[in-house]
Symmetry: D2
Subunit: 372 residues, 4 copies
């Protein structure tokens, strides 16, 4: 790989999302014709053993227990942040200050004001940024947007978005960082996906009316007592888009039985779309243009007609997996670094989601509609 | 059929719902071991020709253009009202005054105060009443309630209800009685089903926050002009049940592509249920008690284990149709007339739905939560 | 109903299928604009009590323990035979000899030679006959045939048919009449539906290669011993249609978990269809003519565009049930009696199915292809 | 990665499957705790340009137009063969002779006698081999086998397998190597998956009755004429397993609309399983042990309870993609090289499939059952 410039990669965090970033880097440079090669330089984890293990398994040249080593390394161009949410801000600001491009897992920061600071710092520094909303990288979601933009659905009138899982439904599961205010709750954690998808497809949300509910009031504190839960288990909102369409979203982490009910249904004057992340290689399309008696939701299966699917698999039906979405996300980010496309979901976009979440929280507290 | 008492039936209205009532009567007495026989005495329609045709085809002894003939007939015991909504009140009050049992199609009346007058009149008169919410007669919906009452889902935490169709999605379709205030709109017409199902399964709703939207502002008035639409095309609500669970419902008649998306999803501490009227012979059940690695939503198909299915079909998989639900509804009503069971959905219940609808309307106008 | 001629109905058998015939008659005359009225004259059951109960509940004027009473009654025009299979022949021949039209449940007779005798007798007598293959009366199956005939699928190349249930899968269930040669086995009982549907859609089958398997060799004889099962639990066949297409069918009554897997999938040069009786108000259609990247199986929901659905329900999504199919079957039969259409599935057609079944049995025994 | 031994990788072929092998190698060593590191040494393609491009993009140290360079390289331990089928034998035998482990795409060879020669050579040489039947690496298929082996389905009685696609359904598509005898046809190309899955789940097939059909007799030869197609477009078989169960399989490449209908349905005495590769992160399970009225096919979604899913994704619902299956396949192969497990699907297994295919062909030609 002699003739391409290289990008040095530093990774902070070696958990599930850290691993997913690594998959993304190593896949992306093989799947796409990227303008750069990646060099996996350093992986950081507060646990030295974890850092060393990750370096060995993932192929990083070095490991460190101190993430600042990465920020200070002039050979590192991109810093991938997959550490706990509370640390995102300090890490990102340091990396930005050092002139790195930053790829930070969601949520960008527990609080909107922190997210704003991060976004503005990045813009001042002129570095490229990315927040990990990789469901938007799904070719079938891209197809949905393309169809909407091409007018295949006509004018959009209604939207229903949802992201429901059950991983917090067991009331005997202990209190964690996710249950205090900085953690965010179901709306911030899952509803944020529903919000991001809604705006990705239908444009800006202008107003919201929130309904955030804590169903499990307290959880075991790990020391024999109980601790009050400060966040929502279910976060709902009515929404108005700037284009005039109305809709609703819901984030729910106590949805018993549901593992990945990231759904949307969009109704336009000429057609409709339905999607569920549980079967994310499919998009269901209804067209008023179909002949009478032959109309119905059509199950479109992902295939080479839906780029960049064809770079991963030769034929429809083979299907992309979660980690492939991560590779697409990284490819898009790197193209933005090469200035061949806009950042697909930068810190400003992450701030936008955080703003929506906080507006819904506030609306729920005040029990009244709020503009965003 | 000599040894059973008879009930004389009078039917007002010969449209689709009138026909459905007839199917219901003739099926019900053959499917169930009812304590009465039915005698189809008189059918009324403002059109003499329609009334005569209906009498001939449906098997009524007489026809009349004047519905009062039915109310005045001492041999008629049950009056089935399937005339336009605006006429329900006068017809029902007359029939009640004449001591008839009354089976009225939904909505009971365009306005809650009328519905209240009707319910109170019936209670004073001691006649039995019924409003046509026949989706509740589905054995799979009964199964859902039975499972909830038996604790198979544990404590209910969350609910999501929906009734979406697309039959008003064409903006060029003309203004009809459904588009003025008395007509009601999508919430009253379809959302009422979502509300009825929600309370049938989870008990009383204590508070609502409404969001009623008119997406198609005006429609052709049939005289070359346009007329302003006064009702909602989409009616949404956040809801709180008295039992503490939270949820949402939506009624939508501009949901392009959807024909019968009467859905619910219920999340309990021990399990979950999912249902859609598009495939109403199925109920999907998730149980936390299933073995690890073997958990999943289970597609229960309607069968003889789900009474009264077995009276219609000998084995699972054969499936009930819409008109069979009507037969069940009538059987239940007649059992109430025989005092062997409570009225399943009487005028008081119809009033309740109307009250919920009007509270949601008012909440939407005031943009604030309201108790019911 | 003064101005239409009447048809007197006699019913033999009061079990599930007897009840279904009654539903069919009473619905059919109300749903359709039939050229006759029905008069339910006599119901026969070897049990006097059952016959009397049925008369009372179903609305027959008289009951009898002797089916010959029906055959001898000059006021009876149609004889519905729902007695055990072994009696079909004698009953049908008697009724034909008396000049009655005969509607006989499937299978027409346990043996093809009996079926032939019955078909020929009916043809000589000039009476109309019908065998109860009511799945063919489904509007969505009619739609499938209409689409094929209109060329919407292009030339048909491949077919896969199936009818699988699990009602014989419990090996401890006792030996019944269904387990001896006259009973027929899974191919005759269920595979016959797959064969009827195959020919209904794709035309005559020219050759078959059978594979009939008895998986449960013996069953409790009800007297403490075991009795050898003489029939197939699974009957498979490769098939060649006269039009050159190839395919396969399977009848299976030990298909654990399956209640009504009456499926077909048809592949043509321009499109494909997929159907399952488990959701029989849907037909799935794939068209090569859809735009690239927008292709997929389209879930067409039954509605008024698919006659005669609209006579039962006003709008799509309401759905027909099993008993509605029976009403359609009876309406078609009566139209044939009125000479306004051909008999949809007469004794000759029933014989055809029996011939196919027996040819597959023989092919399986001889382990070689056979022409039909 | 200093403390693990390395395996040098040579790849022959740079098309879709070559790419998939590369994804597999780079993912596998990051996902799994493998006993080796991989070093991507050389990629070969008859086109020098393609080979160079692949080396650059995939990260191989060198490229070559001559595959023998790989076989001759003492630093290469595994040879991945993804070249056209007709070349598999020569390449594999050369690599085996050079003491390499060989990972060859399916089919192992167009003819069984060649496959046998390859399998025997590998066994004599003591090298490890693998054929690319990666659908078997799906955790949900592994779950199916585990459930069967644990007796959760009871005794297996019936099986239905299928692999249908439509990529050869366009009759105007030109004749290719896949259409002559060495190419194999639909049974060899797709039906082989159905056969492999059948034996993976239910054990050896003892006898077959084949039905191989050429539906498109001739195809454009690319020179203005037509050329006769020598292979089957649809290959069906009845099967008998050694355990006594009966079943059927079908391979079909003219199944209009189907992209990846690799399905199976298995009926046991205690339960059943249904699976379709179109939604390969799901397995549907029916258990007779579920309570009456609560039985139904349960949609089990892939998750960490189904190893090795949890190494790829942290939670259920995220889903594996096709390339992840390839990574699992490579991991299993490397574990076999390390002698920590048996080869999952070696050349002997590839030969077995080829033998099944050829027996079905011969059975179809002779129109008679054959033992395998």
């Amino acid at each position: 790989m002699p003739d391409k410039p290289s990008l040095g990669i530093g990774l902070i965090g070696t958990g599930f999302m850290g691993k997913a970033h690594v998959f993304g880097y190593v896949s992306a440079e093989r799947v796409f014709e990227l303008p750069f090669n990646f060099i996996l330089r350093t992986v950081a984890d507060i646990s030295t053993v974890a850092a060393q293990g990750a370096a060995s398994r993932f192929g990083f040249a070095r490991s460190t227990p101190d993430w600042r080593t990465i920020v200070d390394d002039p050979e590192i161009d991109i810093v991938s942040i997959t550490a706990p949410n509370a640390l995102h801000k300090e890490m990102a600001l340091s990396a930005i200050a050092a002139g790195k491009h930053v790829y930070c897992e969601k949520p960008l920061a527990p609080l909107g004001r922190d997210a704003r600071e991060m976004a503005e710092a990045a813009e001042r520094a002129g570095v490229k940024t990315q927040v990990g909303f990789n469901y938007l990288c799904n070719p079938m979601v891209a197809l949905a947007r393309e169809m909407i933009e091409a007018g295949e659905l006509g004018e959009i009138r209604g939207y229903r978005g949802l992201h429901a899982e059950d991983y917090m439904s067991d009331a005997s599961a202990p209190f964690t960082f996710r249950h205090d205010l900085a953690g965010g709750g179901a709306l911030a954690d899952l509803g944020s996906h529903a919000l991001a998808t809604a705006e990705f497809l239908c444009g800006p949300i202008a107003a919201v009316m929130g309904d955030c509910v804590t169903a499990i009031d307290e959880r075991p504190d790990g020391h024999g007592g109980m601790r009050k839960v400060e966040v929502d288990d279910v976060g709902r909102a009515f929404i108005r888009f700037e284009n005039g369409a109305s809709g609703s979203i819901e984030g729910n982490w106590i949805a018993t039985g549901r593992k990945m009910q990231h759904e949307f249904e969009i109704y336009g004057t000429k057609g409709a779309l339905a999607f569920c992340q549980e079967r994310f290689n499919e998009l269901h399309f209804y067209s008023n243009d179909d002949a009478l008696g032959r109309q119905g939701f059509r199950r479109i299966e992902a295939g080479p007609d839906h780029p960049p699917y064809g770079l991963f698999c030769v034929a429809p039906g083979h299907q992309l997996g979660f980690n492939d979405l991560k590779a697409i996300e990284i490819a898009r980010f790197v193209e933005a670094i090469a200035n061949t496309r806009k950042e697909p979901f930068n810190f400003r976009a992450g701030l936008r989601i955080q703003t929506l979440v906080e507006t819904i929280w506030e609306s729920s507290r005040q029990k009244s509609w709020m503009t965003v």
